[in-house]
């Protein structure tokens, strides 16, 4: 969380109120683009986006795109998201994989028909792929990676690898504002998350309505990429972006084998493993574990950086963590400037000791 930003927004709040009421007169509502996995569960990042939608005026409707059984189950799960008043179900073979061409086309045509004041998604790889394309089709400048919603027309987002936070505002409110939000900035109440997607969860689900067939018909003729294959790792560990504990390793780990230590520590703590760019480039771990400006942004309760110097590009991805621990043998490493607890030590000695100490605590 970024408490200091709340004071930033207050300065403009008087002005904001005037603007909000003016635009609310145009039937404010939000259309949420839902990301879901092949097994029909809604992505945790979408739960955060639904949380962010609470800061926008008007009703919240969700769009779920896909095909077959998976999309039906995802729509049922989306219908139980807190605040969702209606789910649009778009089931078509052209939507099976989350291809930007067809998903953006459908999202923009539904937005043109329903005229929401906001189109919203989580700033994930999928959200960042689809939403800007949809915005171009709607001829509007999108706002991405928003960390705070000041009012319906004003947003705060990080620039320069999180070294500054810019408050941006539409000069003249467009017909529709396309926004992606940074999931870690809108944490989800765990009990609400548990209820969402669970049959018989809290309250009655929102109605699910198929999108009008005339919106699906043009999809087959959209020039689109063909989806060939995916190589998605399954580790059984929590997803990096939403894990409560993240153990990150850098180049100082020296080999892929040595990352096993960090995996052991992460598993003991029920956390995820991440890495610096240097460790990814050296081939120690897969690309999708990279934490930083160009990788994942994490904000866990506990971040443990092992053998990570703390370049600004890495700090951009983890400095909103609640508690930061740094273990490094270089006492001058920049990561110590953001660490709550810094241990200057040889990681090959300290990490096994830490594993043993955590085992004792957990017994």
């Amino acid at each position: 969380m970024i408490p200091a930003l709340f004071t930033v927004g207050l300065r403009w709040s008087a002005h904001s109120l005037v603007r909000s009421s003016a635009t609310q007169a145009r039937q404010a509502s939000t259309l949420l683009y839902v990301e879901h996995s092949g097994d029909g569960t809604v992505a945790p990042a979408t739960l955060s986006a639904a949380e962010a939608a609470k800061h926008l005026p008007g009703q919240l409707e969700a769009l779920v795109c896909g095909s077959g059984d998976a999309v039906k189950r995802a729509a049922e799960a989306a219908a139980r998201l807190p605040g969702v008043s209606k789910v649009w179900l778009a089931s078509d073979s052209a939507l099976t994989h989350p291809l930007a061409e067809t998903h953006a086309k459908l999202l923009s045509s539904l937005a043109t028909k329903q005229k929401p004041s906001h189109v919203l998604a989580a700033s994930t790889a999928q959200g960042r792929n689809v939403l800007p394309r949809a915005a171009a089709l709607l001829a509007t400048q999108p706002v991405t990676d928003v960390v705070r919603i000041v009012d319906d027309n004003t947003f705060v987002r990080p620039i320069y690898a999180g070294n500054a936070f810019a408050t941006v505002q539409f000069k003249s409110p467009p017909a529709v504002r396309v926004v992606t939000v940074r999931p870690t900035a809108f944490p989800v109440d765990p009990t609400a998350a548990a209820a969402a997607g669970a049959p018989g969860g809290s309250g009655s689900p929102a109605p699910v309505e198929p999108v009008p067939p005339e919106l699906l018909a043009p999809l087959s003729s959209v020039p689109a990429a063909k989806w060939e294959s995916a190589d998605v790792r399954s580790t059984g560990r929590p997803e990096l972006g939403s894990a409560k504990v993240v153990v990150c390793g850098g180049r100082a780990l020296k080999s892929a084998e040595n990352f096993a230590m960090l995996e052991q520590l992460a598993d003991l703590l029920g956390g995820a493993v991440g890495a610096s760019r240097a460790a990814v480039d050296a081939g120690y771990v897969a690309n999708d574990l990279q934490v930083g400006q160009t990788g994942k942004v994490v904000a866990p309760d506990l971040y443990i950086g092992v053998g990570i110097s703390g370049a600004i590009q890495h700090l951009a991805g983890m400095k909103d963590s609640r508690t930061i621990v740094a273990i490094n043998n270089d006492g001058e490493a920049p990561i110590f400037s953001v660490a709550d607890y810094g241990l200057e030590a040889d990681l090959f000695k300290a990490v096994p000791e830490l594993i043993e100490a955590v085992k004792k605590v957990k017994q």
Binding site: A4, R11, W12, H15, R19, A100, E101, A104, A125, R128, N129, P132, R133, A134, A135, A136, Q141, P142, I159, Y160, A161, N163, A164, F165, A166, T167, V168, K171, S172, P223, A225, K226, E228, S229, A230, D231, V232, R233, E239, G241, L269, A286, N287, D288, Q293, T294, K296, L302, R322, T323, F336, A339, Y341, G342, L343, A345, A350, L354, V358, V361
Partner: protein, 277 residues
């Protein structure tokens, strides 16, 4: 097949930036500007396609103020065949900004961000049409605004397929289709795209070559074509920024941490003070 590569000039990635005292923007601590690192990767990939004989010509383009020409010279030195600069003078923004701000009536804009992705995408779409490009390569994001939008918006405006966050690109010999490996959350994804298409480069697509001094000297003598907006059928309001930056703040600073002397002390403090174990 002609390949168009979009390049942007940004504050060098290694130069620290800080928020200006008037909160209107940021300033670099050293006056060093460079090609955006992701644009370098996109350009490197285009030059490699030419070296493999798949691309016939590599055209580097940049949209922005006069000093962006320096980055186009770097592009020529790296192996681009031609450079096209779409000049956007400061007074263009002033005029466009005044029009765009009409009726806003809010607080004065603290700073005009002269380039926003929708405007750049419109210019690139016009250039892709004019040049008859078969492929447009861009970086996945610029490290100044961190937007990650221009490639996707360009593809949308052109109605072309897109592959973002590419870590591997293969073109078939006839250059009719591209096979792209993308970096997605949780792993990798492989797409095949009919051309023409738009592809944005991720970090691991390649390692850009160094620019040699002789190449830079030769590039200095080569012409850079100027392509004004009007010639592309665009008006200043097409590239006017839709968003005003009304303030820039420092990120919240963290309270000073403590050094611990041992693993034992670390675990004790994590349990008793931070309560995270």
């Amino acid at each position: 097949m002609k390949v168009l590569v979009a390049v942007k000039r940004v504050i060098d990635y290694a130069v620290p930036v800080r928020v200006r005292p008037d909160k209107a923007g940021v300033e670099a601590l050293l006056p060093k500007l460079s090609m955006n690192p992701f644009c370098e990767i996109a350009l490197e990939e285009a030059v490699r396609l030419k070296e493999k004989g798949v691309a016939s010509e590599v055209v580097a383009v940049s949209v922005g103020p006069q000093h962006f020409q320096d980055t186009l010279r770097t592009a020529l030195a790296m192996g681009a065949d031609r450079a096209v600069h779409v000049p956007l003078a400061a007074d263009t923004f002033a005029a466009a900004g005044a029009g765009g701000a009409a009726g806003a009536g809010g607080p004065p804009a603290a700073s005009e961000s002269p380039l926003q992705p929708l405007g750049v995408a419109r210019v690139l779409a016009a250039l892709a049409g004019r040049e008859g490009a078969g492929l447009v390569l861009l970086g996945k994001q610029a490290i100044d605004d961190d937007c990650n939008q221009t490639g996707q918006m360009l593809a949308g405006l052109l109605g072309w397929p897109q592959a973002t966050f590419a870590s591997r690109l293969e073109l078939d010999k006839g250059a009719a289709a591209a096979r792209v490996t993308r970096e997605v959350d949780g792993g990798l994804e492989v797409l095949s795209l009919p051309l023409p298409a738009v592809i944005t480069a991720d970090l691991r697509l390649n390692t850009p070559r160094f620019v040699t001094l002789p190449a830079m000297m030769r590039a200095k003598k080569r012409p850079i074509e100027s392509a004004p907006l009007e010639g592309l059928g665009l008006a200043p309001h097409d590239v006017a920024p839709a968003l005003a930056v009304i303030g820039v703040e420092e990120p919240p600073t963290r309270a000073a941490g403590t050094r611990v002397g041992s693993v034992e002390e670390l675990v004790r403090r994590l349990r008793e003070e931070a309560r995270v174990l």
